[in-house]
């Protein structure tokens, strides 16, 4: 069965076409839906998976992802909570990760007040570069992703901030539940330990991607849809291109197929 996957679009979303293309290539049935139409139709439950793609929803006004997140949690909070509770897979890429954090869905799966923040990069710049990622969880959503993978990031607000004063406590909880799915690392797989540019944003504990405790909602700053074909990789002409984004999205589609 090819799973129906809702790819959410709003004003300022700009990675939707490539995301839809990637999902279709992998045998899913993606449907691009504008957030206003979703609010009107409330058709979320007709889908087996949800992807919130990258971009600059609502022009990154107030904070990245903040406005689209309120559209979801205010107008569709119950539907979204049910979708998450049923264990249907949800993927937030870049701005989509920011949206899931702002809805409260990440990291603890509860629509409500945000429990962490994605803030301006420590470099105070927009960071667009390929990074290495260390796989730290066996979440099904990551599919057959190898221990060390490569994907590009492109964001200005990708720095994970845990509540000041309680950061270690929250990190311990995330680690206990295997919720840290991806960390920035060196090419050989050593955690970046905050060092730039391996960790491009200054993200706490090199966090690049997080899941809910059940591993069914994944938010990540790197773009799997931009690492979908070897020819998108900077070293493809020398035959060293990888397709790690395809591998990850394959895992997501498989998961949605079982939902």
């Amino acid at each position: 069965m090819s799973p129906r996957i809702l790819v959410l679009r709003g004003p300022g979303t700009n990675c939707d076409a490539e995301t839809v293309h990637a999902l279709r290539e992998l045998g899913a049935e993606p449907e691009l839906v504008h957030v206003r139409r979703l609010v009107r139709t409330r058709a979320l439950e007709a889908f087996e998976g949800l992807v919130i793609p990258g971009g600059f929803s609502y022009g990154d006004r107030i904070r990245s992802g903040a406005v689209l997140a309120r559209m979801l949690s205010h107008a569709l909070g119950r539907e979204l909570q049910r979708f998450v509770d049923e264990g249907k897979p949800v993927l937030g890429i870049c701005n989509g990760f920011q949206v899931l954090v702002e809805t409260g869905v990440l990291p603890f799966g509860q629509v409500g007040e945000p429990a962490l923040a994605l803030m301006k990069n420590a470099s105070a710049r927009f960071e667009a570069r390929w990074v290495h990622l260390l796989r730290c969880s066996d979440s099904e959503l990551l599919g057959e992703l190898p221990e060390v993978s490569e994907m590009p990031v492109a964001n200005a607000e990708g720095r994970v901030v845990l509540p000041p004063g309680r950061a270690q406590e929250v990190l311990d909880e995330l680690l206990q539940n295997s919720q840290v799915a991806l960390r920035y690392c060196t090419p050989s797989g050593e955690p970046a330990e905050g060092r730039y540019p391996a960790n491009p944003s200054g993200s706490f504990w090199d966090i690049a991607g997080l899941t809910t405790p059940n591993g069914r909602v994944l938010g990540m700053m790197p773009h799997p849809e931009r690492a979908f074909s070897a020819y998108l990789h900077p070293c493809w002409t020398s035959g060293r291109g990888t397709e790690h984004g395809r591998v990850l999205l394959q895992g997501f589609v498989r998961c949605a197929g079982r939902a």
């Binding site: 107030i62 309120r70 803030m119 301006k120 420590a122 105070a124």
Partner: protein
């Protein structure tokens, strides 16, 4: 009625905009600068109560994890 809402990073959260501004001011010769913190100012006009503005801050304008806010009635 006119309200001003100032949203800034909480103490202890790195403020890259503030840091960059500080180093740029130092470059221009302002050795007197000890710290710069960035903040966003929202000016809200309308018949809103302080409680409503408080709610707006909690629900949208500030992320409670990394930011703090200050509300001031200006008119």
């Amino acid at each position: 009625m006119k309200w001003e809402v100032r949203v800034a990073y909480r103490r202890g959260v790195q403020d890259p905009e503030g840091e960059t501004t500080k180093s740029a001011l130092e470059m221009l010769g302002y050795g007197c600068v000890e710290e710069v913190r960035s903040a966003k100012l929202f000016i809200i006009e309308g018949e809103c109560t302080r409680e409503e503005v408080e709610q707006m801050c909690r629900r949208l304008l500030a992320n409670p994890v990394s930011q703090e806010y200050e509300i001031r009635r200006v008119e």
